[in-house]
C-alpha cells in the first residue's frame, strides 16, 4: 500500500504535482491533499452527487474515481468557478437570489452539474432541469427553489453572453 505514483493534475488553472497511493480517491485528493474542501462527500458510493466536479469539462463524481486517474487531466471545482473573489458565477448568483440552498452541503455538486448543462442547453424547460439535477440529492430544499434558480441562471448567462 505504500507504493506511490507521481501524478500531474491541473485544478482550477493551477498545476499540481503530487505522489499518491493508487487507492487514494480523487475526492480525498482534492479535499485533503489539495485543501480544496468546497467539494463535499455525502455518500462515497456515487449516488448523492455532492462530490461532483468537472473533469475535462464533464461532470463526474469524484468519490468514484482514483486520484491516479486524474493524471494529465483538467479539473474544475467549486472554488474555481467564480470569476474573481468579489463576483459570483451567474449560477451561484441565481442560487443566492432564489434561496436555492439551505445547509449548502449539496450545493457545490448541484452548481458543478449545472454549469455544463446550461452551457449546452441555454433555455431549458422545467422537465429538462429536473432531469438534469436528478442525480444530485438535496435533503433541505425540496428542489423547487433550485429549479427556479436554474431558470434565473439561464437568463443571467444569456444576458452575459449577449
Amino acid at each position: 500500500m505504500s507504493q506511490r505514483i507521481p501524478i500531474t493534475v491541473r485544478v482550477n488553472g493551477v498545476t499540481y504535482q503530487r505522489e499518491v497511493e493508487p487507492r487514494l480517491l480523487l475526492s480525498d485528493f482534492i479535499r485533503h491533499d489539495l485543501g480544496l474542501t468546497g467539494t463535499h462527500v455525502g455518500c462515497e458510493h456515487g449516488v448523492c452527487g455532492a462530490c461532483t466536479i468537472l473533469f475535462d469539462g464533464q461532470p463526474v463524481r469524484s468519490c468514484l474515481l482514483f486520484a491516479v486517474q486524474a493524471d494529465g487531466h483538467n479539473i474544475l471545482t467549486i472554488e474555481g468557478l467564480a470569476p474573481d473573489p468579489d463576483h459570483l458565477h451567474p449560477i451561484q448568483e441565481a442560487f443566492h437570489d432564489a434561496h436555492a440552498l439551505q445547509c449548502g452541503f449539496c450545493t457545490p455538486g448541484f452548481v458543478m452539474t449545472l454549469k455544463p448543462f446550461l452551457e449546452e442547453n441555454p433555455d431549458p424547460s422545467d422537465e429538462e432541469i429536473r432531469e438534469a439535477i436528478s442525480g444530485n440529492l438535496c435533503r433541505c430544499t425540496g428542489y423547487d427553489h433550485i429549479v427556479d434558480a436554474v431558470h434565473l441562471a439561464a437568463d443571467k448567462m444569456k444576458e452575459a453572453s449577449s
Binding site: 487507492r23 472554488e79 434561496h99 438535496c138 425540496g142 428542489y143 423547487d144 429549479v147
Partner: protein, 782 residues
C-alpha cells in the same frame, strides 16, 4: 406595525460562503499532526462478546492506538439520560442508555466495539478489517408486538421484559363518549417514519492543546453548549477548558441532537491520551447503522362520533420502538400521543402508550419527532368516519376544528416540555378555505375528476390538517454589541444547520438598531463566544433564540437612545436609529454615529457607574412558559397508474401558519423542504431490518431519498396568527411541512382508486408494491 427588516424576503447572508466552497464544515478542519479514527461495529443485532483479538491490526504500520471497552477503564460508563420521563401519574420508565464501546454484549447492528486510531483513515480501515471479534449470537428482537411476548429474549437482562416505558394520559371520560356515540370506529394503524439522511454525515475533530490545557472540539451537533458541559464533566475538566464549535452543518433534522453519541465521548478522551488531534468522519453506511432513526409505531385507535360527524372522543393504544437504548426519554412517543389530537375539539381522550426495546438502532427525534404518527392516526380516523357517515372529508374537519374563540385551548394532557398541552392561538377555517380555493377543490370534485375518470384516468384529491407544537423552552440567550467600528456583533448558543439564522436573526437586530444587515456579524454554535443555551430542536430557533436576540437588541437600543439623548440634547421620543446613526427627527442636522457612541460608552478615563455595563452591549435570555402551536392544511391531487401503481403528484398545496414570519423566503424554503421529506416518508423511504436484526437498507441504493423527479412544485399559502407567548409573535416552522404528507397521500390515493377498489389504507409508507397488494386484497373482498 410597519417594519424595516422583519417580514422581508431577504436573501441570505450565509449564501456566498456556501456557494463558493469557503464555508467551514467539520470535515474541512485540518490540524497539523492529525490522526484518523475508524470503528469496528457489530455485525450482529444481539450477541455476547466472547473475545476480541487486535494483535494483527496492531502490527499494521501507521496504526497508532486501538481501544476496546476494557481499555477505557473508569471512563467507560453509560451515557446520560437526556430527557427524563414526563411527570405523569403511574408512569413506568426504565432508563437504559448507550455505552461508548460495547462490553460483554452487543444490542444492535452498528454498535461500536473497537476504536482504531491511525495515521490515515485508509490505514484505520485496513486495521478494522484485521480485528477479530468472537460474538455468540443471541436471538434478536425486531418485532414490536413480539418484543413484549413472555418468551421474548431480553435485551437488557436486568429487566423483567423489554418494556421501556408505559404512560397513560387522558382527558375527560372516553367511556362516557362511547355511550353517547352513534358511531364508533376502531382500526389498527401502522406508521413508519424513516431516517433523516442529512447530506452531511456526522463528524468530530478533537484537539487537546497540552500547553494551553484546553480541549477544542468541532462537532456536527445541534447542541454545542450541552456537549461542552457534558464532555467537561466526563473528562474532569472545567467547562472553560472545553470549547465546542458546531460549524456549518450539512443538515441535521434531529438525529444530530442525540447526545452523547459514542464517538463524541471517545474522540476527546483519546485525543488527550495521545496528545494528537483526532478526526472521525462517519461514512454513509455508518450513518444508516449508527446515527439515530425514528421508525415505527403500531396503534389500535378508536373514534366515537355523533351521526352528524361531531367527535365525542378518541381512544388510542400504541406501541413505540425505542431501539436498543432510550437516552432521549419519551420525547418521540409523547409527541405522537399529544399531536394526535390535532386541530380538533376532542372532549374525551384516552391514550395508552407502551415503549419497547428492540435490537435496532436507537430512536430519537427526526423532523416531526413522532408528530407524524399521531397525525396519521387521527386523520385516518376522520377519513374513515367521513366515509361511514357519507360526509365530505373537508366538512368533517371543518365541523371539528377548535373554533377561534376557544383559544388558548387546553388539551389537559402533558406535552414533551412537561407543560400542559395548551394551544396558544389558532384560526383554522380561513386557512382551509384558502387551500381549497387554490387547489379548486369543488371544481375538481364536480367537474375535473368525473371528466378524467370518464377518460379512464385514476385521479384523486386529498385534504388534511395538523398542528405542530413548536418553540418549547427551557431558554436560549443572546448577546448584542455595537462595536466601536460601527459594526454589530451578535452571539447565540444555538447551532445552525441550514435554517438561515445568519439572516433571520440579523433581521431582528437590524429592525431595532437600524443598521445595514451587512454590518451585523453573527456567531452561532461556538461555546467560547456564547456558552449558555440548549440547542436547535423542536422548531425553536426563531421562537426562543430569536426572542432572546430581540430582547438583547431592544436593550442595546435603549442604551443608545439614552446616550444619544444626552449627546444631542433631545428627548428620546424624537430620536430615530437609521443607517448607523441616531438622528433628531425635529432637527435633521443633529445626529451622532453609533460607532462614536460606542467609543463613549467604553471610555478610557472617567468613571462608569458601578452598576452599569460598559459598551453598547447587552445579553438577554428568553424562556417561553410553554410552546407555540403552529398549524396547517395541505391538499394534493394525484394520479395512479393502474398497471404499475406508480403515483404521480399532479398538484400539491401547502397551507401553513407559523405566526409572524420574520423572513417569508426562508419560511417558504422550510415548508417546501419539509414536504419533500414527507413525500419520501409517504412513498419511498423505509428502513428495513430482517428478522435477525440485519439492516437491509444501508445505502442510498436501497434507501430511496426523493430526487427532483419525485418532488413536484409545491404551491404555498400562508396565514399569520401571532403567538401571544413571545414578543415577536412567532411560531416555529422547521418541522411543519413534513408532518401531514403521509395521511394526505393515502387519502388522495384512496380517492383516485375508488372506481377500482374500495381501499382502506391504514399504514404508511406505501410503496407501489404495497399499493398493488392492497388493491388485490380489496378486490378479493368484494
Amino acid at each position: 406595525m410597519s417594519t424595516r427588516y422583519i417580514g422581508k424576503r431577504m436573501k441570505r447572508n450565509e449564501d456566498p460562503r456556501l456557494l463558493t466552497g469557503r464555508a467551514l464544515f467539520t470535515d474541512d478542519v485540518h490540524l497539523p499532526g492529525m490522526l484518523h479514527v475508524a470503528f469496528l461495529r457489530s455485525d450482529y443485532a444481539h450477541g455476547r462478546i466472547k473475545g476480541i483479538d487486535t494483535s494483527f491490526a496492531r502490527e499494521i504500520p501507521g496504526v497508532v492506538a486501538i481501544y476496546t471497552a476494557e481499555d477505557l477503564g473508569d471512563y467507560w460508563r453509560p451515557g446520560p439520560l437526556l430527557v427524563p420521563p414526563p411527570p405523569v401519574e403511574g408512569r413506568v420508565f426504565h432508563a437504559r442508555t448507550q455505552v461508548p464501546l460495547a462490553r460483554d454484549k452487543v444490542r444492535h447492528v452498528g454498535e461500536p466495539i473497537v476504536m482504531v486510531v491511525a495515521e490515515s483513515r485508509y490505514i484505520a480501515e485496513d486495521a478494522v478489517e484485521q480485528i477479530f471479534v468472537d460474538i455468540e449470537p443471541l436471538p434478536a428482537v425486531t418485532d414490536l408486538e413480539q418484543a413484549l411476548a413472555p418468551d421474548a429474549p431480553l435485551i437488557h437482562e436486568d429487566l423483567d421484559s423489554n418494556l421501556a416505558a408505559h404512560i397513560i394520559q387522558q382527558k375527560g371520560d372516553y367511556a362516557e363518549a362511547v355511550e353517547k356515540a352513534d358511531v364508533v370506529i376502531r382500526r389498527r394503524f401502522y406508521y413508519d417514519h424513516g431516517v433523516a439522511a442529512a447530506m452531511e454525515n456526522r463528524g468530530i475533530v478533537a484537539w487537546w492543546d497540552g500547553k494551553a490545557e484546553r480541549l477544542t472540539m468541532w462537532d456536527t451537533t445541534q447542541a454545542p453548549v450541552v456537549i461542552r458541559n457534558g464532555i467537561a464533566a466526563m473528562l474532569g475538566l472545567s467547562e472553560s477548558q472545553v470549547r465546542v464549535i458546531a460549524p456549518f452543518i450539512g443538515g441535521a433534522f434531529g438525529p444530530k441532537i442525540m447526545m452523547f453519541y459514542p464517538e463524541e465521548v471517545l474522540l476527546p478522551w483519546a485525543a488527550m491520551q495521545l496528545n494528537r488531534p483526532l478526526k472521525w468522519i462517519e461514512d454513509r453506511r455508518e450513518n444508516f447503522m449508527s446515527t439515530t432513526h425514528e421508525r415505527d409505531q403500531i396503534h389500535w385507535a378508536e373514534i366515537a362520533l355523533t351521526k352528524d360527524g361531531k367527535i365525542l372522543g378518541v381512544k388510542d393504544e400504541f406501541i413505540h420502538d425505542s431501539g436498543a437504548y432510550d437516552p432521549y426519554g419519551l420525547t418521540v412517543p409523547i409527541n405522537s400521543q399529544c399531536t394526535l389530537l390535532g386541530s380538533y375539539d376532542i372532549p374525551n381522550y384516552y391514550s395508552d402508550m407502551k415503549v419497547v426495546f428492540t435490537n435496532k438502532m436507537i430512536v430519537t427525534p427526526y423532523r416531526g419527532a413522532g408528530r407524524q404518527h399521531g397525525v396519521f392516526v387521527m386523520e385516518r380516523l376522520l377519513d374513515l368516519a367521513a366515509r361511514e357517515l357519507g360526509m365530505d372529508v373537508t366538512e368533517i374537519r371543518r365541523k371539528n376544528y377548535i373554533p377561534p374563540d376557544k383559544f388558548p385551548y387546553n388539551n389537559e394532557i402533558i406535552y414533551q416540555d412537561f407543560a400542559p398541552l395548551v394551544y396558544d392561538s389558532g384560526n383554522y377555517e380561513p386557512l382551509l378555505d384558502k387551500v381549497l380555493a387554490l387547489i379548486e377543490y369543488e371544481k375538481f370534485i364536480k367537474e375535473e375528476q368525473p371528466k378524467l375518470r370518464a377518460e379512464g384516468r385514476y385521479v384523486g384529491i386529498g385534504v388534511v390538517s395538523y398542528v405542530e407544537g413548536t418553540g418549547i423552552g427551557p431558554y436560549e440567550g443572546a448577546r448584542v454589541q455595537v462595536e466601536t467600528t460601527g459594526k454589530v456583533n451578535v452571539a447565540t448558543g444555538v447551532g445552525t444547520q441550514g435554517q438561515g439564522h445568519f439572516t433571520s436573526f440579523v433581521q431582528v437586530v437590524a429592525e431595532h438598531l437600524g443598521v445595514d444587515p451587512k454590518d451585523i456579524y453573527l456567531v452561532t454554535g461556538d461555546t467560547d463566544i456564547f456558552h449558555w443555551g440548549t440547542g436547535t430542536f423542536a422548531s425553536r430557533g426563531m421562537v426562543v433564540a430569536g426572542n432572546a436576540i430581540n430582547s438583547a437588541a431592544e436593550r442595546v437600543k435603549r442604551k443608545i437612545l439614552q446616550m444619544a439623548s444626552q449627546e444631542l440634547e433631545a428627548p428620546v421620543e424624537d430620536l430615530v436609529l437609521e443607517g448607523g446613526f441616531v438622528r433628531d427627527q425635529r432637527h435633521p442636522e443633529s445626529f451622532v454615529a453609533l460607532k462614536d457612541l460606542a467609543v463613549k460608552a467604553n471610555p478610557l478615563r472617567g468613571a462608569v457607574k458601578a452598576d452599569a455595563e460598559p459598551g453598547l452591549e447587552s445579553t438577554a435570555y428568553f424562556g417561553p412558559e410553554r410552546g407555540a402551536t403552529a398549524f396547517g392544511t395541505h391538499a394534493m391531487i394525484v394520479e395512479v397508474d393502474p398497471e404499475t401503481f406508480d403515483v404521480k403528484i399532479l398538484r400539491y398545496v401547502a397551507g401553513h401558519d407559523c405566526g409572524v414570519m420574520v423572513n417569508p423566503l426562508i419560511v417558504d424554503g422550510q415548508v417546501r423542504g419539509g414536504v419533500a421529506q414527507g413525500i419520501g416518508n409517504a412513498f419511498y423511504e423505509k428502513i428495513v431490518y430482517d428478522d435477525q436484526g440485519q439492516l437491509l437498507t444501508a445505502s442510498f441504493m436501497d434507501y430511496l431519498v426523493p430526487t427532483s423527479m419525485e418532488v413536484p412544485h409545491i404551491e404555498l399559502v400562508h396565514t399569520e396568527t401571532p403567538s401571544p407567548l413571545n414578543p415577536l409573535g412567532v411560531k416555529g416552522v422547521g418541522e411543519a411541512g413534513a408532518i401531514p404528507v403521509a395521511p394526505l397521500f393515502v387519502q388522495a390515493v384512496e380517492n383516485a382508486l375508488a372506481p377500482l377498489a374500495e381501499l382502506e389504507i391504514t399504514e404508511a409508507p406505501i410503496s407501489p408494491n404495497r399499493l398493488f397488494e392492497l388493491v388485490q386484497e380489496a378486490r378479493q373482498k368484494v
